[in-house]
């Protein structure tokens, strides 16, 4: 079983559209994991049935029991996040600022502060429209711990894939280089970077590649909208060659991507021409590269 993670550095390069198309091509041999938990979109194309759902608890917030509180102010003194507010000698926690470190609860001489575990989202196991299974999630509004929810989604996907002896876990990652991305890379077998030939796209790809190198993972690259700037596309190609990144494919600037999305379809269900061909060839190549 191979775990393939699709990331991009920069947002909006076409990660999700391309991953969803691969999901349709892989069929029931793959388990799909949407790890872009704070802006998950893959369900809009793959139509999961949300058959199984569970709450996700992670991280803590402090709560002050006013009846026990002796107003000594020690909690406010030790909090490095300015999360303890005192108004008219009444101490309270500003939830948004509380980091959940528990220092205040530790130091409170009368044990008036309790650390309460937070419900930060939900995760689901679904059947999607081609009968494959998908694990996905929704992070609560403004919640921390997206990295931990990503880890949970991946773990569940792995369990399903192992039990049913699937060939692939296909992971749609999030933009950036922070905790959810780090979490989505851990345990991967192969990483696909979907980039675009813009100065920001190339810059962000190089940063995310630096991160991939920390994990000693092999990587491939898909250049979307390669014709928006062919000179930068060439630079991306040279960068890939120099760093032994497999060049998987190039997609032209094509608004068919948006048209398919508007109808809730993946490209391979919508387009019978060039784009579909590139996707079919790309998926074949990925299967060979990860074999």
């Amino acid at each position: 079983m191979k775990e393939i993670v699709v990331i991009s550095g920069k947002g909006g390069t076409g990660k999700t559209s391309i991953t969803a198309a691969f999901a349709m091509l892989a069929g029931t041999r793959a388990v799909i994991a949407d790890c872009d938990v704070d802006a998950a979109d893959m369900h809009l194309l793959l139509q999961p049935d949300f058959a199984h759902s569970e709450d996700f608890y992670s991280g803590f917030k402090a709560e002050i029991n006013q009846e026990l509180c002796t107003k000594c102010g020690k909690c406010k003194q030790v909090c490095r996040f300015d999360a303890v507010h005192e108004i008219d000698n009444l101490y309270s926690i500003i939830n948004l600022d509380c980091e959940g470190c528990g220092y205040c609860a530790e130091i409170c001489p009368v044990k008036a502060i309790q650390m309460v575990e937070q419900n930060v989202g939900k995760w689901y196991i679904s059947k999607i429209k081609n009968n494959a299974q998908m694990v996905h999630a929704r992070l609560g509004i403004g919640a921390d711990n997206s990295g931990k929810l990503v880890a949970k989604v991946k773990k569940e996907a792995k369990n399903i894939a192992q039990e049913a002896s699937k060939d692939f876990i296909l992971v749609d990652g999030s933009p950036g280089i922070g905790c959810p991305v780090v979490s989505s890379l851990s345990g991967a077998d192969y990483v696909i970077i979907v980039t675009e030939p813009t100065l920001p796209g190339f810059h962000d790809m190089q940063r995310v590649f630096e991160l991939i190198q920390n994990f000693h993972l092999s990587a491939g690259c898909i250049i979307n909208k390669y014709d928006v700037n062919e000179a930068i596309s060439e630079k991306i190609k040279s960068f890939c060659k120099k760093n032994s990144i497999d060049i998987i494919s190039y997609f032209p600037y094509d608004e068919t991507f948006t048209q398919a999305m508007t109808q809730g379809k993946t490209i391979v269900e919508f387009d019978d021409g060039n784009l579909k061909k590139i996707l079919v060839d790309s998926w074949k190549k990925i299967k060979l590269l990860t074999d």
């Binding site: 920069k10 921390d144 950036g176 959810p180 780090v182 810059h203």
Partner: protein, 286 residues
């Protein structure tokens, strides 16, 4: 006035809007543009200018003092982030996981975990006439964007008078980095594209802004692709529609080269000018 530009979905035009608004507004008076998308900061491709200073940013982490430690394990017990682990004969600190709460350090009975500084990124300040540009950039491998976002905002507060207009280029998503980049702002502009992905993630962003009790409006980028669902949503929800930026392949090409769209595409410049007019109508700008 602090205006933060956010989106939910990535790649919808946050940086384009932030840089163009900052540039156009700076033709008349001073503006500070802060790139708070510290994981992947991109405003610097569009705003040039002279470098004024570069400042390394540190966070505080505990450092184990083997000589003083009695291996009591209190540090591991108090750390809620699994950043301090006691093994048989040693204490390990995982720098990336540490949230700098000081609990392990200050509650150590032996003072065997003094705090020391650890570099997580840098802040660079540039100047282009009336436009002051401040960029936060996270070191690759660091997982926590929030402390650097906070430092970058603090930097603008310390270095500039509070009456200068600030425009923040926020990170994508709806989780803690976005909260940090928007919670101090007076007004939020959400930028989206008129597609199912764009609309879905904009709805999440709207929920965040309502939770934070922020005033906000919406700009639609790449207007012309997709459908009118996003516009209809704004009407139904009574969210001010601040403007529409037309979809043009030429804009994608100019963006690719790092060109400021207002300087090269008059049609798009008009769209930004009309967004500025609308911000005045809504009393966001004077």
């Amino acid at each position: 006035m602090k205006i933060s530009i956010a989106s939910g979905k990535g790649g919808t035009g946050k940086t384009t809007l932030a840089t163009n608004l900052a540039y156009l507004l700076s033709q008349k008076s001073s503006v500070i543009l802060a790139d708070l998308d510290v994981e992947e900061p991109n405003s610097g491709f569009f705003i040039k200018g002279k470098e004024i200073q570069e400042k390394k940013v540190f966070k505080m982490i505990p450092e184990w003092d083997k000589e003083k430690c009695i291996l009591c394990g209190n540090c591991q017990r108090v750390c809620k982030f699994n950043a301090v682990i006691k093994l048989w004969e040693e204490v390990l600190v995982f720098n990336q996981l540490c949230h700098s709460c000081y609990a392990c350090s200050e509650l150590c009975p032996q003072n065997a975990l003094p705090m020391k500084s650890y570099e997580v990124g840098k802040i660079t300040e540039f100047e282009q006439n009336n436009l002051h540009f401040v960029e936060g950039k996270l070191n690759v491998g660091e997982e926590q964007a929030v402390p650097l976002i906070k430092e970058t905002i603090d930097f603008t507060n310390h270095n500039y008078s509070s009456d200068i207009l600030r425009i923040f280029d926020a990170p994508p998503g709806t989780s803690c980095p976005v909260i940090e980049a928007t919670k101090d702002a007076d007004y939020i502009i959400l930028i989206t594209e008129p597609t199912p992905f764009g609309l879905h993630d904009m709805k999440l962003a709207v929920e965040v802004m309502r939770e934070l009790k922020k005033d906000f409006g919406v700009v639609i980028n790449r207007y012309g692709i997709g459908n009118d669902d996003a516009i209809k949503y704004c009407e139904d929800e009574k969210i001010p529609l601040l403007g529409k930026i037309p979809n043009m392949k030429k804009a994608a090409e100019a963006y690719a080269k790092g060109e400021l769209l207002s300087e090269v595409l008059p049609e798009i410049r008009n769209a930004f000018e009309s967004i500025i007019e609308n911000l005045r109508t809504w009393d966001v700008l004077l």
